[in-house]
């Protein structure tokens, strides 16, 4: 069927690429210990890209009822004169990764509901506060074909659960996520982590602001990393909107910081040996021992910059746009930060006076290109003499990553999957904290 579509489109154009996806998802949510919702979705779609006379055409459809309309929409879009300086890739012998665990098929919604109840009950009993829990299961089939012989497919299974212990009268919460290719229990360690952070910070405190030590948790490291992701994006290199232009090989962070993208690590779900453009994936160091090593590219921006795609063309839109509806663009989908040598609880002991950023508000605002951040704490835990003494409200942590990430005090010896990547907790010194008196 799709081979036929390639042949049909090839009649009109020089090169053809098809992206086909289908997935089924279940989401279960518990609020305050009560099962609130089960939402399911079975979706599919096809996206077509063509190249003719150095111009790119694009179209998509949810239901491939008439292939001719899909092709004509792509041809019609050629008049946009989107000039490209690349060809779709040739077929290679790519690595086969372990991305799918058939056990996921045996995981029923009933079992997930049981797990959600279990987590809710234990945490509610341990913390005495409102607990919200979410559980998610998805199986995705992705196939990419092009007229150069690429025909790759990957089947992916994902399971995750997360729990939040909520501070009364708000949505501020201590959060933990557990992720795997099949069902994985929310462990005692995960429960202890939430219980420790929540129970020790129940009291509201009003310390004085100023420059102090600030610990970002794996769940809030994205605030800082977001700025780096922006600054190393091949699009922003091409458009010259990154402050890192011309700084490859220069030291931008503390030598303890190493950040890399590793699509091939299939211990975690969503590993990939090819990107959404059929380009082979490989490990890419972004920052090594504080030194800026690489920018990342998709085919389009690599073409503009006369370099090669690093295998980072993904169809990700802002705010969860449907993948078939967006063109691939440079994206780091498998970002890791190298762990350090400190146990999490020992890191807290290193804080004479400081804040743990357990939740951030407004990470998406502020001058991201410049590397600036200015976030509300939701919550911020206040630490004195190595002990958590309470949580702060009405407070902000602000700075610039190219200054803050030079002042590393310590890095946790484990990393966890959260928003934007897999990060350890990192303790920084001399960060500006504003607290309303």
């Amino acid at each position: 069927m799709l081979d036929k579509l390639i042949d049909m489109a090839k009649k009109y154009t020089d090169e053809v690429e098809i992206y086909q996806i289908d997935y089924s998802v279940s989401n279960i949510s518990f609020e305050n210990g009560s099962l609130k919702d089960i939402e399911s979705s079975i979706q599919s779609g096809i996206s077509l890209r063509i190249i003719k006379d150095g111009k790119l055409g694009f179209s998509y459809t949810k239901n491939l009822i008439d292939p001719e309309i899909l092709i004509q929409n792509a041809i019609h879009s050629l008049k946009g004169d989107v000039k490209v300086e690349f060809s779709f890739p040739e077929r290679k012998d790519i690595k086969i990764l372990n991305t799918y665990d058939p056990e996921i098929e045996n995981l029923t919604n009933t079992q997930m509901v049981e797990e959600g109840k279990r987590i809710s009950e234990i945490l509610s009993q341990k913390t005495g506060t409102q607990i919200n829990v979410g559980l998610h299961k998805a199986v995705t089939n992705l196939r990419i074909l092009n007229s150069k012989g690429v025909d790759y497919s990957v089947k992916t299974s994902v399971y995750y659960s997360h729990a939040e212990a909520m501070y009364p009268g708000s949505y501020s919460a201590i959060f933990r996520l557990v992720l795997d290719k099949k069902f994985k229990e929310f462990s005692q360690e995960d429960i202890d982590y939430i219980t420790f952070l929540y129970n020790n910070s129940k009291k509201e405190v009003k310390p004085k602001g100023g420059k102090m030590k600030v610990l970002f948790l794996p769940s809030t490291m994205y605030v800082l990393i977001w700025r780096l992701i922006f600054a190393t994006n091949g699009k922003n290199v091409y458009e010259k909107t990154t402050p890192l232009l011309g700084k490859l090989g220069e030291k931008i962070f503390d030598t303890s910081i190493t950040i890399y993208d590793d699509p091939l690590n299939d211990n975690l779900p969503n590993a990939r040996s090819f990107d959404d453009e059929g380009v082979e994936c490989k490990l890419l160091p972004i920052v090594e021992k504080g030194i800026l090593k690489n920018f990342y590219y998709d085919l389009y921006y690599a073409g503009k910059m006369a370099t090669n795609s690093t295998g980072h063309g993904y169809r990700v839109g802002d705010w969860g746009q449907e993948s078939i509806r967006v063109r691939p663009s440079p994206s780091l989908e498998h970002l890791y930060m190298q762990t350090g040598d400190k146990n999490f609880y020992d890191l807290i002991k290193l804080i004479d006076k400081g804040i743990i950023v357990a939740g951030a508000l407004g990470a998406h605002s502020g001058n991201i290109p410049n590397g600036d951040f200015s976030i509300g704490l939701s919550p911020g835990l206040y630490v004195e003499k190595g002990e958590i003494v309470g949580h702060v409200k009405d407070s902000m942590v602000a700075g610039n990553i190219y200054e803050v990430m030079k002042n590393v005090v310590g890095i946790e010896n484990r990393a966890y999957v959260y928003n934007m990547g897999i990060f350890p907790s990192v303790l920084f010194d001399n960060v500006s904290v504003a607290i309303k008196e």
Partner: protein, 453 residues
């Protein structure tokens, strides 16, 4: 279409079933500086079914008609699973059965404008900032036509179309290593005419993004501030509006306690309304995605909490009237409670009187993203000015505001007599709502925490 949908849900042995089929046409032109990055017209479609059985309420979205039986079976099983495992039984508030076809009137249908003309207009506006060598732009034209069909087992049958178009993006200026940016957006729900003859908007934003290069970073601290209508709108939407959405607080007892009807939350001068029925505004619709007619809803009246936004489910749960605020992003989602057009009701102060009352402080304009945790909120502003002795002084940048909702509602001490609603929207509460609209008058707020960089 109604026949097909009726046929699909007729087989389900449930207490209530509804189905929504949507066909969506999208035209998108993306320009990065002078290069066209994307251009095209496409369409997608899909179904969303919701099933209520023995107090369990569950939904499923699917793409292919041939998956309908499988999907309905899953939704029914899930509803039963919820019913068995939930302490609370879901009820849906009683509503009027409606049969209606509503196609909104347009001033120049964007479907009748050629894509070449759309591109030319986008290029025309793009050239305004690009006259300056130290500015780069990311601008797009985006048109979304949603044709929605809704059928329920109660007999409601509605078709409503939502037509949205916008030209929107960001302008970025540079000087050495300094990078500044502002957002720009025009458009709405009433047709292509909203995009014509708007050069002034792009001229104004061009000047601001250039001026920002010379502006001073604001010093962190606590200030009295005047917020312009866009900033006031973001405050109203982010800090207050979300907690008027009943589904957000339904299962949070401590928030429900704080947001009790009759609670005196704000200053006497403060009245907040959400009204999706305002013709011509971005957030306009006639029926929500549960087939409920939208209603103007007073959320805060003279500082007293007087209502909230509901789905049929939350309306029954809270024992409060339905408001018609349950809306979905597209064919991939079941609806959730959303704001339509939310704003602070204007009062009697002129801008000059607000400045005079402020004396010393800041004048803060145009929002740049915001977020809330319930009682605390944070949002950015694109630019601002110092105010000394009631006079507007030099420009400031890098402004981020943070505050406590309940305290801030009391600290609003002046409400202007002007009124402006936004032309482009984008609220991401799990789903993106491009018709989310907010605004209001200028307002004066005491004791706002400003975190600089």
């Amino acid at each position: 279409m109604f026949d097909v949908l009726r046929g699909i849900i007729s087989k389900v042995p449930a207490d209530y079933v509804d189905i929504r089929y949507e066909k969506m046409w999208e035209t998108k032109i993306v320009m990065n500086k002078r290069e066209i990055y994307q251009l095209g017209e496409n369409s997608g479609d899909g179904y969303v079914v919701r099933v209520l059985k023995d107090g369990g309420f569950s939904s499923i979205a699917f793409t292919k008609l041939e998956d309908a039986d499988k999907a309905l079976k899953i939704a029914l099983e899930n509803a039963i699973l919820i019913s068995k495992n939930s302490k609370k039984k879901v009820k849906l508030a009683e509503v009027e059965v409606v049969k209606d076809i509503f196609i909104p009137p347009l001033n120049e249908d964007p479907r009748k404008v050629t894509i070449d003309e759309k591109l030319e207009l986008l290029k025309h506006y793009n050239e305004i900032p690009l006259r300056f060598e130290n500015i780069t732009t990311n601008l797009h034209y985006w048109e979304v036509i949603r044709e929605k069909y809704f059928v329920s087992s109660e007999g409601t049958e509605i078709r409503e179309d939502l037509i949205t178009c916008e030209i929107r993006g960001s302008l970025v200026s540079f000087e050495g290593s300094l990078v500044q940016n502002v957002r720009v957006g025009i458009g709405g729900s009433t047709g292509f005419h909203k995009l014509r003859n708007r050069e002034d908007v792009f001229e104004k934003k061009t000047k601001i993004v250039l001026d920002l290069l010379k502006a001073e970073p604001v010093k962190a601290g606590v200030y009295n501030v005047i917020l312009n209508p866009d900033m006031a709108g973001v405050f109203t939407h982010e800090a207050f509006g979300h907690f008027s959405e009943a589904d957000l607080i339904e299962d949070n007892p401590s928030m429900r306690e704080k947001m009790k009807i009759g609670a005196k939350l704000g200053n006497d001068i403060l009245t907040i309304i959400d009204d999706p029925t305002m013709p011509g505004q971005l957030g306009f619709y006639k029926y929500d995605d549960e087939g409920v007619r939208a209603r103007r809803t007073y959320l805060l009246k003279d500082g007293v909490l007087s209502g909230r936004l509901h789905s049929r489910r939350t309306s029954a749960e809270f024992g409060e009237p339905v408001t018609g605020h349950c809306v979905a992003e597209d064919y991939r989602y079941a609806p959730i409670v959303r704001m339509g057009n939310i704003f602070i009701e204007p009062k009697d102060m002129t801008f000059e009187e607000l400045l005079e009352k402020l004396g010393n402080g800041l004048y803060i304009l145009d929002a740049k993203g915001g977020q809330t945790s319930g009682e605390n909120f944070t949002f950015g502003a694109q630019y601002g000015f110092e105010v000394k002795n009631g006079k507007i002084g030099k420009m400031i940048r890098d402004i981020n505001i943070s505050g406590n909702l309940y305290q801030t509602l009391k600290d609003i001490v002046g409400v202007g007599n002007d009124f402006e609603l936004g032309e482009v929207g984008g609220c991401g509460k799990g789903q993106l709502n491009i018709r989310s609209c907010h605004g209001g008058p200028h307002i004066l707020v005491k004791n706002v925490v400003i975190g600089g960089v």
